[in-house]
């Protein structure tokens, strides 16, 4: 099953709609609630990042019987130092992002804690791609 969503820069009102939709799908598929929570928390963090830090992007989701693959690909500005961004507490969030309760530098580390596979690639001026996988069993 393949799903695609578009996320728009600064659109905090709709931040989480893609993750919420994926949650509903996984519920219908009777995915274990603890696994479901790990999936949606990681995806939500990535979705919020694309809205808060980037110029929007796409969320691509592929679900099969054993696992879910999620790709959040944004349109820039890119992360100059991924290792720095992966450390808890490191953030470049603007004040409006912090006003929404985010921007504490916990997003990428929290994604890593919740997924079985995480790959972050980024090119400054081009964009960032976050690929995540969670096994259902």
């Amino acid at each position: 099953m393949h799903q695609e969503y578009t996320v728009i820069e600064g659109d905090f009102v709709n931040a989480g709609k893609a993750s919420s939709s994926v949650k509903k799908t996984l519920k219908q598929l009777n995915v274990n609630p603890q696994v479901l929570k790990r999936v949606v928390v990681a995806l939500y963090e990535a979705e919020v990042n694309a809205i808060a830090h980037a110029y929007g992007g796409k969320v691509l989701v592929d679900i099969d019987a054993d696992k879910i693959k999620m790709v959040v690909a944004d349109k820039g500005p890119g992360i100059p130092d991924i290792a720095w961004a992966m450390e808890e507490g490191h953030s470049t969030a603007r004040p409006e992002v912090r006003d929404m309760g985010f921007g504490a530098g916990m997003g990428l580390p929290n994604m890593q804690k919740n997924v079985d596979k995480l790959n972050v690639t980024s090119e400054v001026g081009v964009g960032t791609t976050v690929e995540m996988e969670v096994n259902f069993h």
């Binding site: 905090f12 009102v13 931040a15 989480g16 993750s19 919420s20 949650k23 609630p33 929570k37 949606v40 928390v41 939500y44 963090e45 929404m100 309760g101 985010f102 921007g103 504490a104 530098g105 916990m106 997003g107 929290n110 804690k113």
Partner: protein
Amino acid sequence: MTIQDIVAKLGATVALGEERMDMEVEHAFASDLMSDVLTLKDTPVLVTGLCNVQTIRTCDMASLEVVVFVRNKRPTEDMIELAEDNDMVLICSQYSMFKTCGLLWELGMKPLY
């Protein structure tokens, strides 16, 4: 204890979920930082001063069902609609975060950590 006990102790108003007042709850977590809420493994009552649509979205993702907004903050119609879709309970406390937490502690609510 039940949600009704919390409402009575705080002299709070219920913005959503009147029909779930007999739901049993045991733990609470207080934060305005949604990134922190997303790290929780358990599903406590959330006490927060952050009253916007992302509070509700975050609770949906983290599977939290009960939110206590402090300092008389009132959820908007958009928030209530989204919370209704997720069977949540929204409570408004007139007190500060500190006093709300103190009263819940007095009531016997347990911390997560």
